[in-house]
Amino acid sequence: MAESWGMVIDLDKCTGCQACVVACQSENNIPINDEGLFNQRRAIEWIRIERYWEGEFPDVKARFIPILCQHCADAPCEPVCPVFATYHNNEGLNVQVYNRCIGTRFCANGCPYHVRFFNFWEPEWPDSLKNQLNPDVTVRSRGIMEKCTFCVQRIRRTGRKAAQAGIDKSDAELERGLNPACVNACPTQTLEFGDMIDVLTAVKEGTRLPDEPKSKAGAKVKKELEEDGGRGYRLREQLGTNPSVVYLRKVDEHRKEVITHG
């Protein structure tokens, strides 16, 4: 297992439709967030769409950024855990081990992206929804921290399928099974998932990017980082967290025109 799973998010394609949010909630047994929870700032959303308004009326633009756990290589949440419930594994995943977690919430305070969520209550579903729970994902009880796992249950399932078929789990044939729920649900292919160990290591160490990245997502990152005016960036890179999620800037021709005129 020498992978480093990563994601590319092309903000130029994101329409803010929230399909990824819904897919994530249903795949990962996330309890239902109602108005009261949002008002208390205790809603749980492993992936969320942040909306920003840009400009003055009438030239107003809505900007959308899907934000999920960045699976940082140097994650600020990991060293603060007193019980090693969160750690970095050899697949580049920032792992949250539910049965180790004692709920100190230090990690949520350390996270600069606000992607870790605490279960303040025992999760509850209406009876009609109990049969839609995913048996492959633990239902987190009260008092523990949870966050995006890059759908590790899907990675595991794909790994078993790949072992049965005798192929690599990054094989194009298994792509749908390997992709996290949000990636599969995205109607505009904003999100792309893949093994980006070569690209991410090169970015982290400041060496030359590989000639032929292992995955499609890696190739996309390489293209956007190397080209002049490439759109690649990572969230809060100045903090030195080395995220595994790469964002691509939105291109807005109309907006440029307005700026030059005004």
């Binding site: 297992m1 594994n89 050899n90 081990v97 049965n99 994902v137 796992t149 595991r156 078993r160």
Partner: protein, 205 residues
């Protein structure tokens, strides 16, 4: 007062305070020690290695694995996978539907009380309310298929020969009971011995 009579002299305030503190501390220490002892004792005696596993739960139908899976003369010697069909395909080994029992027991076993129970359940269209014997906690994801295929491929044995590694010799049990504690150390030890990954996300996700 008669001279020489015992008279209780009130100790000075400082001594009273000291006595009170010592009393409270002593009581607190006693409670803490008792609690620690309770925890240690329950953990120690909760381990099946000391008293062994119990006989397993009573099932609604006294299904004898001996007659079906045993290989002695007069026993059928069925393969485990004949009934637990999903064990080589998916996470759960699965218990067969009542219909599978009836393929034989429509005609076999007239007059046997247990088989009459089975037929009554099948007629009512219900599932047999078996009591689960082996259960790992919710935060553990055990996949039968991966383990069965690994061992049967490596050792060149039948899939059904792998089951006894964790479940013991079920074919000789009239009432199925758990033979291994199935604690995390059992899993991790076996994973280490066989070069399987020991990363937390192998099982916990």
């Amino acid at each position: 007062m008669i001279p020489g009579d015992f008279q209780y002299k009130k100790p000075p305030a400082k001594q009273m305070l000291l006595m009170a503190i010592m009393g409270i501390l002593g009581l607190g220490g006693f409670i803490v020690t008792a609690l620690v002892l309770v925890f240690v004792m329950t953990a120690w005696f909760g381990q099946p290695v000391i008293f062994g596993n119990d006989d397993g739960p009573d099932q609604p139908i006294a299904y004898p694995h001996t007659i079906h899976a045993g290989t002695q003369p007069g026993q059928l010697g069925l393969d485990c996978t004949f009934c637990h069909r999903n064990v080589t395909k998916g996470a759960a080994a699965t218990i067969p539907a009542v219909g599978l029992c009836l393929t034989c027991h429509k005609t076999v076993g007239d007059g046997n009380d247990e088989i009459e129970k089975l037929r009554a359940i099948a007629e009512a269209g219900d599932a047999i309310p078996w009591v689960r014997v082996h259960r790992v906690p919710d935060h553990v994801h055990f996949v039968h298929e991966a383990h069965i295929s690994f061992f049967s491929e490596r050792d060149g044995i039948l899939p059904s020969a792998v089951c006894s590694t964790c479940h013991g010799d079920v074919a000789s049990m009239t009432q199925v009971s758990q033979v291994k504690p199935l604690k995390m150390s059992d899993c991790v030890d076996c994973h280490r011995d066989n070069g399987a990954p020991t990363d937390c996300t192998t099982c916990h996700y």
